[in-house]
């Protein structure tokens, strides 16, 4: 059976890993490659690297980082942050990234999803969506959660999958940083209304939250950052727990 995936997310600034809560009190957390090797040895199923500065000057640093990561780890990884063009994607995939993730740029130019999936295949195009629950609806937010749109998350998911997105990385802004659990309601709605895998993100605080994301949120994978970086949850213990809860997990 296909296993549920556990995905640590590494925020990258100027080629270094940073740790912070809600983008505040950002601290240097060392070399991303060392952390990536550590997580892969701990049993992470995949890694996500998110370039939180994502300026043009930093593209070269990011590309060099992707090459070093690909040389040193033997599990798949996704790179996101500031990707706007076929050229951006081509460079990252040729440097050894398995997938790339798009967010604001895809919303502003949905044709980008079609162009990228046509050229590189849907399997490497992850659509990241930041969503917030307001007035009884889940809306799409852009620019790292700063700009609200009037589009419902579920509508954007359907359109993006139609265009060729191969996976959805769904972050609930209501839950992110709260450590109160993943947004299982919207995750389930998205998962049951799309043909592609869904990664739940935002809100992980304890091991039960991961179980709930899989059982109630119907997520195919669960992503977290701080609980792993601050070693509040260790991946081997998490995986053992999930197995005991009868969830299909790779150990």
């Amino acid at each position: 059976m296909l296993a549920k995936r556990i995905i640590p997310c590494l925020d990258i600034k100027d080629g270094r890993t940073v740790k912070g809560v809600n983008f505040e009190n950002i601290k240097d957390a060392g070399d991303p490659v060392e952390l990536a090797v550590f997580y892969s040895q701990q049993g992470a199923d995949e890694l996500v690297f998110l370039d939180i500065t994502a300026t043009n000057e930093n593209r070269k640093t990011l590309t060099e980082l992707v090459l070093r990561v690909a040389k040193n780890i033997n599990i798949p990884f996704t790179v996101g942050g500031g990707i706007r063009s076929i050229e951006d994607v081509s460079v990252l995939l040729n440097s050894g990234a398995d997938k790339i993730s798009l967010n604001t740029s895809a919303f502003k130019n949905p044709q980008l999803i079609a162009d990228l999936s046509g050229r590189f295949g849907s399997q490497c195009i992850v659509l990241a969506i930041d969503t917030k629950f307001e007035n009884e609806e889940w809306y799409v937010y852009l620019n790292g959660g700063k700009v609200k749109t009037e589009t419902r998350a579920i509508d954007w998911v359907k359109q993006a999958v139609e265009l060729g997105a191969g996976e959805i990385l769904l972050t609930s802004m209501n839950h992110d940083g709260t450590k109160s659990g993943f947004a299982n309601t919207i995750t389930k709605l998205v998962s049951e209304n799309t043909s592609v895998p869904v990664i739940a993100s935002g809100g992980a605080g304890n091991m039960e939250h991961f179980r709930d994301a899989f059982v109630y949120g119907k997520a195919d994978a669960a992503l977290a950052a701080s609980v792993f970086h601050f070693k509040e949850i260790e991946i081997p213990a998490l995986k053992k727990y999930l197995r005991e809860q009868k969830i299909e997990i790779r150990i």
Binding site: L2, I75, N94, S95, F120, S195
Partner: protein, 195 residues
Amino acid sequence: MKVAIIKYNAGNIRSVTFALERIGVSPVITDDAEEIRSADRVIFPGVGEASSAMNYLREQNLDSLIVDLKQPVLGICLGMQLLCNFSEEGAVKCLGIFDQNVVRFKETIKVPQIGWNTIFDLKSTLFNNVKDKEYMYFVHSYYVELGVNTIATTNYSIDYSSAIKKNNFYGMQFHPEKSSVAGQVILENFINLNV
């Protein structure tokens, strides 16, 4: 030991190269006929779309070259599928080494299959020191049906071929280069095959 990775328009060549380097092999990445023919091992990787990949192979005359290779050849993911008879992806006739067809998963499950799934009924020295039901990393929407050449099986709503073998040709649907330690063992076994 000379290992050639076939260079064409549908490669995940970088990852395969790095994985080989981690086991002490420095591959050559080439589309040169003589380089490929003279290699001790040939790896035929692939991530992409079947019909455009086949068209490219034909244009470059790599199709007949691959079919005639005598040394161990390993097709990975799309590379494995292209070694078969026919693919539903783009409805294209493929290289025909394996008399098996490549079909799409039914839409009753999530497609593409992305992630770690188990391989079982292992029937080749390629899987020496790999345990039954070991997890491997898969990313695909099309699969090879079970048949006489199946040497590993995986279940994703149905049982299908996760690895196949015929004479000197091997195919793997999963990505050994991305499948952690167990994937590395399989790559080492391929390099160390007795021929």
